[in-house]
Symmetry: C2
Subunit: 372 residues, 2 copies
């Protein structure tokens, strides 16, 4: 459902945090999910544990497969270098990448995805990460964890690169038919995420539209602008598709249909342009020589556009932290998604959203009619 | 309202047509419209007349300004090299780029934009081209020319580049709240355009969605898929944002909100990536040298992504041909928009759409209930 954007700027939250001062977290990983399953999830988990020496990971899935694969990585699940920091939790089923969400929800109660979410529900883990089927993950997470009171629908948020740095955008595909009230709730959740992860106290919120003027857009968007203006958020106003990448605001809010189309359109253009460039430099001996001479520039360009660095979409609005990795993520990309989940867990993301939403509902109830 | 995509492939319809066999057309140009007005529209018109020796142009606007500017280009409006092929038609007003469509429609009845459209209505010109305010142009064109019977709303169509060539997409911003019936009509108009301009008898139609499966998308899109499947169009199915640029279908159909966001998102990503590349190659003496060595590759890359070659968005569904140039178009880009309008005029575009729509309405009326 949600695509990982092809392009991404080389910025990682973890770089800003001294590891000594981190709160320890335990993360549940759906070890079987994604296009590559344990071939990606296990090496990523091992790398993560090496990098964050106080955090713990619970690998969820087929114990035999997981243990055998861990051994090939030189890690013994019992006596290995990580001790109790690395545990294996059995789950007998796997949700297929193309399986219908409802079939996964009803038919696979012992799937690696569901058991990982259960561990968040029970408090054994403070976040879970899966590269599995997005629809099934959202449906299961919503069923198991429930939504935060005051939130009608969870949304999917992710970061995109901009000329200036990065921008957070939601919803990216969870909700196709939205009301203005839903979009307002997305804005509140997104603003809380940006504040927590980037330490921006009052992030600017842009409403994705087809013109900057108030009269532009469809009815839902016009109504949303009124709600955003009356809220406690730092509402910038309407922004257009190109403004996302100009870094005009810290947050971009839209419904899941528009957000998903925009995300995948960005992916498509980036891939096409990258392809043109590759084609051009690979044409003949002279152009290949030119590519060799330009290697430092082309490498830096590729690095700047490395989508893997921003892998990990946050499911916001749930009573727990769930991060979705791109299905085709490699080890590095999946590790980035684990880091994202850990950051959210350390920030107490869902509790922060809960406080923000409760405060807003309280203020709205106490505002005399006609004042806002 | 509609942005000209930053990127475009170097393909022009006119290249496929032997000029000797062209039907002569007369084109009305809003000479005052756009960010640069006569500084762009007049040289483009003169270049066009040189290139197409049997076509005629009527320049609409302030006669003194137009004549004085033509003289600086070495063209005498009376005795000049083009004779009766170049005429000036007076219009005393100009619609501002930020003017409200309704104010332009009601308050500026002698604007260069409106008079150019009037010339299409009266049959003196077979198409008009304007780089002016999109909203005002659409409102005025709709008021003066009226919509084709059976079409509820006109739409804006344009071409975008793909890995394989190009794709036609609509609506790009004229209609923000659409029903499934509107989207079906857009598909019919777009398919007629593709057939006429590209000589593709049965173009494939993709419905922009957030997944390929039938269950994906919002209610309008799901309903549209049913209508498209029951129509005489070559419906490919749902496509996603990245598929636009993979060249999966000949035509992409969406509502004007989604289309405009996708178009501008594509623009934004292309500009950002171009900027990164420029920055990388301009960093120091070595990278500048690398740029010099890579000049042939970089030039070809730039050429391939030259948005100007595809300037010109078609307003479809009106009883006349109206082409909107990007407001900031330069001479080359504006000439491309003139060429686009001429091609549509030669193809008898609006009459073809009219026939297609009438045939479809007729068939629908004669289809017994429950058959389609």
């Amino acid at each position: 459902m949600v695509g990982c954007v092809f392009i991404s700027i080389g910025f990682r939250f973890s770089e800003f945090i001294a590891k000594d001062h981190l709160v320890d977290v335990t993360l549940a990983i759906d070890a079987m999910g994604g296009d590559h399953g344990t071939a990606v999830t296990l090496p990523a988990a091992v790398e993560y544990l090496k990098q964050y020496p106080r955090d713990s990971i619970i690998l969820v899935g087929n114990p035999d497969t997981i243990k055998a694969n861990l051994r090939t990585l030189g890690v013994d699940p019992v006596d290995g270098p990580f001790g109790v920091r690395l545990r294996v939790h059995a789950a007998s089923e796997v949700v297929g990448m193309d399986e219908q969400p409802q079939s996964a929800l009803r038919g696979k109660k012992d799937s690696s995805m569901r058991v990982a979410i259960n561990l968040v529900k029970s408090g054994e883990a403070s976040a879970c990460i899966s590269a599995g089927n997005t629809g099934a993950l959202m449906a299961t997470a919503r069923y198991v964890l429930k939504t935060i009171p005051g939130i009608d629908r969870p949304a999917i948020a992710s970061y995109l690169p901009t000329k200036k740095g990065q921008v957070c955008m939601l919803d990216l595909g969870a909700n196709t038919d939205c009301t203005a009230e839903h979009l307002l709730q997305f804005a509140m959740m997104g603003a809380t995420l940006v504040t927590a992860l980037e330490h921006k106290p009052n992030p600017t919120v842009g409403l994705l539209n087809i013109g900057s003027e108030d009269i532009k857009g469809n009815e839902v968007v016009k109504q949303t602008a009124l709600l955003l203006r009356a809220s406690d958020l730092n509402f910038y106003g309407n922004i257009e598709g190109n403004d996302i990448f100009n870094g005009v605001t810290d947050l971009v809010v839209c419904d899941g249909f528009v957000g998903n189309v925009a995300l995948k359109t960005a992916e498509g253009v980036a891939k096409m342009m990258g392809g043109f460039l590759k084609e051009g430099f690979g044409q003949n001996l002279y152009t290949k020589l030119a590519a060799l001479v330009s290697l430092p520039v082309l490498k830096a360009f590729k690095h700047r556009l490395d989508h893997r660095r921003y892998n990990g979409a946050s499911f916001l609005g749930l009573k727990g932290i769930v991060v979705k990795s791109h299905g085709s993520a490699d080890v590095f990309a999946f590790r980035c998604a684990i880091e994202k989940a850990a950051e959210e867990a350390r920030a107490g993301m869902w509790q922060q959203i809960s406080v923000h939403i409760e405060k807003w509902h309280h203020e709205r109830q106490n505002t005399p009619q006609g004042e806002s």
